[in-house]
């Protein structure tokens, strides 16, 4: 316990890094998810095909493989392009950018499915009622689709977020100093790996537990007008 207190700054810094990374990748994932759902439901066949390929490929390949590919391969690709076009010199892909970007794009594919399902769960008649009532597309989205989409998407959102938060642990493999990385190095240097990994274990449990409680409260808020069956 004393040892954990001695290394508390490292653990706290790691936790903050984990949370920052998870939130950054969440923003990217939500953007990709909304774009993907829009493309999958659009009348444009090319958009549907592209979105289909995106969700299929991303969900078929393990996250760590993609993270490593982007971190090591992305750097070489960027520099090759830079050298060929002369637009930029030597660039280094940071662990944070590679991790947040890749995890964001991966979970964007899962959010695509969540949002698509949520939009499809809205009764078609309500949208038609909006059209016949003379509402503009943006108005229909704001007053009919959005409030209900949030309600239908929230259970899926909670689930995705919890999986995503846990997935961020993988960036320790490319050397980002997140919770796992810091706990591991502290454990290595003190020869107390169990103590420190157990601490990381408990911190992750707290993070997922608190997110779960908070998101359930949000779900209750958005469900307050709905009849419980």
């Amino acid at each position: 316990m004393n040892l954990l207190l001695e290394y508390q700054t490292q653990l706290i810094d790691g936790t903050i890094m984990t949370i920052t990374l998870a939130l950054t990748s969440l923003v990217i994932a939500l953007t990709f998810g909304l774009l993907g759902a829009w493309a999958k439901l659009s009348a444009n066949r090319l958009a549907r095909r592209l979105a289909g390929a995106y969700t299929t490929i991303v969900r078929g390949v393990p996250d760590l493989v993609l993270i490593l590919l982007v971190f090591f391969g992305g750097q070489v690709t960027l520099n090759n392009i830079g050298a060929a076009t002369g637009l930029w010199g030597y660039v280094e892909v940071s662990q944070f950018a590679a991790g947040a970007g890749t995890i964001g794009v991966i979970f964007g594919a899962y959010f695509t499915e969540t949002f698509r399902g949520a939009i499809m769960a809205i009764p078609r008649g309500q949208i038609e009622a909006g059209i016949s009532g003379g509402m503009r597309k943006s108005l229909i989205f704001r007053h009919i689709i959005w409030p209900q989409m949030v309600r239908f998407a929230l259970p899926g959102f909670t689930n995705n977020w919890l999986v995503q938060l846990k997935t961020t642990a993988l960036v320790s493999v490319i050397g980002l100093q997140d919770l796992v990385y810091n706990a591991f190095t502290a454990g290595r240097s003190t020869d107390q790996l169990f103590t420190f990994m157990a601490a990381a274990f408990v911190i992750y449990l707290l993070l997922t537990g608190v997110s779960d409680l908070l998101l359930r409260a949000v779900e209750r808020h958005y469900n307050r007008g709905a009849v419980r069956t």
Partner: protein
Amino acid sequence: METLLSYIPLDLALIAENFDRFLYGVWVTLNLTFLSLLLGGLLSIPMAIARASKHRVFNPLVQGYTYVFRGTPLLVQTYLIYYGVGQFEVIRTSFLWDPVLSSAWWCALIAFTLNTAAYTTELLRGAIADTPTGEVEAAIATGHSDRSRMRRIILPSAFRRAIPAYSNEVIFMLHGSVIASTITLQDILGVGRWLNGRYYLAYEGFITAAVLYFLIVLCITWAFRRFERRYLRHLTRRDTGIAPHAASLPTPERV
């Protein structure tokens, strides 16, 4: 063909040269994944029954277990077992140390099994709880005892209805098995990382690994689609011939 291949900026000859290593990696990955799914699946059945029947002692215990293992990353669980337990002198001198707990393979198997058992328990609990009341009432009316009702009516029905969600769990476990490569095992990704490290490459190993994993996922999806067609026939609408939840790539929800 020759000219077409030369446009691909990958050293295909090198991949072909090391392909036997990748095949061995496929074997390690499949071995670890399916062995842990088998063991975890067996563990999850009694736990799911305890959860669904709200057993006074075991229900809260199992619920605590699934909460903890579903609330933490598999990577941390694996590290805790592989790197962690060696901290204790008692374990290092015990009979478990030499063949089991000092081996990366065993530690990965234990961590993966405990992880998938937690998810499968909750998934099965849901399927058992969702058993149509009519089926249970029919079993009671025909004089089944509690035990035979569970064994002959509820479980077979719940297993079938759990297939679509379980296909998701299988794919998640395959994806999770890449963690084996972080504790020195030569699974598919382990071989890819070795190849890249050895020849100082950026793409070849990872891209080969990505393609192999993708192919395995396609095979799993295909196999589950066939299972569903067979075992969910009674729940299939006759006109479409498509199961209500056709197997697909992992859905966002992981219980």
